[in-house]
């Protein structure tokens, strides 16, 4: 029996805008409106908006919230000041990655945790199962009752500033705050998944459409999951389910800078320390190739005639006009300059390992 897909509060707008809708993590989501490449270019040159309401938004409140999150997440959560957000990973005992998340400290004893839609239930179960070990923690999943819109691109700051009537001029990168939009409570963070400057705005579901319409009136281009993926790949950002999952650890994935190995204990720390001591089994490699057949998830990576690894993500880069991708290989072969071959359904793509990111936004 087919299970019905969930709708975000913006679903009707996407349909009205004639978006191509696809099932994603149990939600009916827009993959594109005008076209993936056009939307991608709009974000790099101006600004675009994404409905990311399907992602989990979990509030944790109480004296135990800070130590609980610090225990479950690889990066330093306890050290976050009020209004500061940080990226990190939730690992299991053996160092495998349950999810990658962003945590914002809203108040001394209140945090907002944003996680991937595909892992929301697993994250909730995981956090809930650890609450008993910490004093007074209340967890509330506000995913269904809120909408989250990501506004990304070089023009986003000025436009969001005008939307919020100057309230956000001091919001730095990776900062977040409760604020007011049109008389409504809103949470805004200066975060994103595109490699551009941008903001993520959370409001209650009932006013989500009004927010989206206002952003479009200000000139934002509606962008779907297709462009979200091409943008994050150019920025070299991992996607859970591709580069990271329970079978990979943060060090292999090149995310060691988000792991507090010489800080407080967290679940998975011992395993990661051991990995550091014993050496990595595999390492994330970034590669580029001439434009041509697309390297897709699972395609074999070859070196000197032997299969040594596989592609995790790949695609055409609209900004750089070449093929780019990520994959896992033995640590020595991830060195920039290493020549690799990718088997694309029988055709061999000549690739070269490079340093991340593929694309870095111009710093103003």
């Amino acid at each position: 029996m087919p299970v019905a897909l969930a709708y975000t509060a913006l679903h009707d707008i996407h349909v009205r805008l004639r978006a191509r809708m696809v099932p994603f993590a149990g939600w009916d989501m827009p993959v594109q409106y005008e076209g993936i490449i056009a939307e991608h270019r709009a974000v790099r040159s101006a600004w675009g908006i994404f409905d990311v309401s399907h992602m989990g938004r979990v509030y944790l409140t109480g004296a135990g919230a800070s130590p609980l999150l610090d225990r479950l997440i690889t990066s330093d959560i306890a050290g976050l000041s009020q209004g500061q957000a940080r990226y990190g990973m939730m690992c299991v005992q053996n160092g495998g990655i349950l999810d990658d998340v962003i945590v914002l400290r809203l108040h001394e004893d209140q945090f907002l945790l944003v996680c991937n839609a595909s892992n929301r239930k697993a994250v909730l179960d995981w956090v809930r199962s650890h609450i008993p070990a910490f004093p007074s923690v209340e967890m509330i999943d506000r995913t269904a009752e809120t909408v989250m819109v990501a506004a990304q691109g070089p023009r986003a700051r000025q436009k969001i500033d005008s939307l919020l009537q100057g309230r956000l001029s001091l919001l730095k990168r990776y900062a977040g705050t409760e604020t007011e939009w049109d008389g409504e409570d809103a949470v805004v963070t200066r975060t994103g998944y595109t490699g551009e400057d941008g903001f993520e705005i959370i409001v209650r579901s009932e006013v989500g459409s009004a927010l989206w319409e206002q952003l479009m009136d200000l000139g934002a281009v509606p962008c779907g999951l297709g462009a979200r993926d091409t943008l994050r790949l150019e920025a070299g950002l991992p996607l859970h389910g591709q580069e990271i999952d329970l079978a990979t650890n943060p060090v292999e994935a090149g995310l060691g800078r988000f792991v507090k190995l010489d800080g407080a204990d967290f679940i998975g720390k011992a395993a990661l320390l051991e990995t550091q001591r014993n050496g990595l089994a595999k390492k994330l490699v970034a590669f580029k190739a001439a434009r041509g057949p697309v390297p897709r998830h699972g395609f074999p990576i070859l070196h000197e005639g032997a299969t040594v690894g596989h592609v995790t993500s790949g695609g055409f880069s609209p900004t750089l006009q070449i093929t780019i991708g990520l994959g896992y290989v033995p640590p020595g072969l991830a060195e920039p300059g290493t020549r690799l071959l990718i088997d694309a359904r029988g055709r061999l793509i000549e690739a070269e390992a490079v340093r991340l990111p593929f694309y870095k936004r111009p710093q103003s």
Binding site: R20, I36, I37, G226, R291
Partner: protein, 127 residues
């Protein structure tokens, strides 16, 4: 949408006949379904194909689709512009986005293909 001077295959390729040569590409429907085309894999000039054989692949950001030759014959030209500008398939599927030219082995095979009207009817029945 579906020029009446062309003949169509159910797999969404079109054929334009000029004497014994057929120019082949994919339809407006196919390019819209695929989304942004990023690569087209075309055969070498001189290759021979049976009718309805797979002659190449068209890749978009999200998908790969096989290309089927609506009429048997020898490839006499492949559109070299598609290597640097695969988006021509999206922007001008019946013109600049053409894919191959075939010297037909059996020109009467064209009569087995659909007219624009028949192709349009097929599309509306399926959706």
């Amino acid at each position: 949408m579906y020029p009446t001077d062309l003949r169509y295959h159910k797999e969404h390729e079109w054929v334009r006949v000029e004497g014994n040569t057929a120019t082949v590409g994919i339809s407006e429907f196919a390019q819209a379904e695929l989304g942004d085309v990023v690569y087209v894999d075309l055969p070498k000039v001189g290759t021979h194909f049976e009718q309805f054989a797979k002659f190449g692949e068209v890749e978009s950001v999200k998908a790969v689709s096989d290309l089927f030759l609506p009429v048997a014959g020898e490839i006499v030209a492949a559109n070299e512009k598609l290597a640097g500008s695969p988006e021509l398939v999206n922007h001008d599927p019946y013109g600049e986005g053409w894919m191959v030219r075939v010297r037909m082995a059996t020109p009467s095979q064209v009569n087995e293909l659909m007219s624009a009207e028949e192709y349009e009817r097929m599309l509306s029945e399926a959706h």
